[in-house]
């Protein structure tokens, strides 16, 4: 079990740690006043990575190899000169939205997902980033990818297959899920079964909006996504997605999703009322859990505010390790459960807007 929690917020990075009596306490804050869009602990070497979203000075990348005692700036990815998002629009780094560490290359590289839709491989030794040209030049990109919530498409999920990290998936808002089996030399859409109800053709191959994409490291073909148009899972690596939303209940619209790595049919989502009304359903905050791959969903609200709640849980803000869960909200609440979500306690209620949570050692 990991004993630290890294909380990326609109006003900096906040570090929580479990103490000797199993209470979570704030032990530090970094980058005060600066929006931290993503935070990540590299599982290979324990280094911490953050992306900063300076309002004035652009997107920056920082690394700590001593658990936050010191930080060094690493050159952020740059789109190659002449790269265009579309005709007349230069591609420039707008946002960093995902990190992933390939296990097969030591600690040499880091994958970085960005807006406006580029996947980069950062060479950690040289600090040089290389745009994945095959995905960028996918024939669908200019006409069938678009922004959702942000101006341009963004890669928010990078899922590496632990059996072979030449095999990976990316989740793109808005384009869908793409898979490569050859280390990024070629990419195929994997959106069969998804509905894009905001498109003239909801069954289009491309143009879907997966809000978050996760896979089990124990059963990598078992994947989940909270989509703009429901909750989906697949047991065959995305060959066929199955809608497991509870359209008559709570578990339908939302952004975040967590899954049990050992028992992938077990998952949690953080519902919001609807696309049009982005507040908790009836302003009562809840988490929904399934134990059976989405056939049934239980609403969990013990300890959560049940009136006039306005919290939305962004896509990287609900995480679990076994039965321990955290979620952080747009209104600065941080909730914790030690029993799979049956009971919740507010660990902090005065944080800035929360953008990302991650466990750390």
């Amino acid at each position: 079990m990991k004993n630290k929690l890294l909380v990326a917020t609109r006003k900096g990075l906040i570090v929580f740690q479990r103490d000797a009596v199993s209470k979570w306490k704030v032990i530090g804050a970094h980058f005060n006043g600066i929006p931290v869009s993503m935070v990540y602990e590299d599982p290979r070497d324990g280094n911490w990575w953050v992306s900063l979203d300076h309002g004035h000075w652009g997107i920056k990348l920082h690394k700590s190899n001593d658990k936050g005692k010191t930080w060094e700036e690493v050159e952020a990815p740059k789109y190659p000169e002449g790269t265009l998002v579309k005709e007349g629009v230069d591609a420039t780094l707008r946002y960093i939205w995902a990190f992933a560490a390939p296990s097969s290359d030591g600690s040499n590289s880091l994958l970085i997902g960005t807006e406006p839709g580029g996947l980069f491989r950062l060479n950690i030794q040289t600090s040089e980033s290389k745009l994945n040209q095959s995905l960028w030049n996918h024939p669908s990109r200019t006409d069938q990818w678009f922004g959702g919530g942000r101006d341009y498409p963004g890669i928010h999920s990078i899922v590496l297959d632990p059996r072979n990290d030449q095999h990976m998936y990316v989740g793109i808002s808005v384009a869908g899920v793409f898979e490569t089996q050859d280390g990024g030399n070629s990419w195929m859409p994997k959106n069969k079964g998804l509905k894009a109800e905001f498109l003239p053709n909801p069954d289009a191959e491309i143009g879907h909006d997966p809000h978050i994409l996760l896979a089990s490291s124990k059963q990598p073909d078992y994947m989940w996504q909270q989509n703009h148009c429901g909750i989906y899972r697949t047991e065959n690596g995305g060959d066929q997605w199955i809608d497991v939303s509870d359209r008559d209940g709570e578990a339908y619209f939302g952004f975040a999703l967590a899954m049990d790595d050992e028992y992938p049919e077990r998952a949690w989502v953080a519902p919001a009322q609807s696309d049009e009304i982005r507040v908790p359903i009836d302003q009562k905050l809840c988490i929904c859990r399934t134990e059976d791959g989405g056939k049934n969903w239980n609403t969990l609200n013990s300890g959560l505010p049940q009136s006039y709640a306005y919290d939305i849980i962004y896509r990287h803000c609900l995480i679990n390790q076994q039965d321990e869960l955290f979620f952080g909200t747009t209104t600065g609440n941080l909730f914790y459960s030690s029993d799979g979500g049956d009971h919740w306690e507010a660990l902090h209620q005065f944080l800035p807007m929360v953008y990302c949570l991650t466990w750390a050692d």
Partner: protein, 91 residues
């Protein structure tokens, strides 16, 4: 030689940055290259990777904002003072 003044906001990231420095250059682009030589990496805080001035950064030559935010071609005289400041935006 043109004199360059910086917002104190940049000193957070470049603590050795002086409030005013003298940089050789005939236009804004050359001035920024000169600043980059003294403080590697700082140019990325001021311009995007395509070389355009960042949306929420302003450069003044004397009391006038520069005209060319794309290629930074505004001419700078020997006696001019250049100001690099952030726009008043955010929350």
């Amino acid at each position: 030689m043109p004199k360059v003044s910086f917002t104190k906001a940049l000193k957070r990231f470049y603590p050795t940055l002086e409030n005013k420095i003298y940089i050789k250059g005939d236009n804004i682009s050359e001035i920024l290259d000169g600043i980059e030589e003294k403080h590697p990496g700082i140019k990325d805080y001021i311009v995007e990777e395509n070389g355009q001035l960042r949306k929420h950064v302003n450069i003044f030559c004397g009391e006038d904002p520069i005209d060319d935010r794309i290629t930074l071609s505004d001419m700078v005289g020997e006696e001019d003072e250049v100001f690099i400041i952030q726009a008043l935006s955010g929350g």
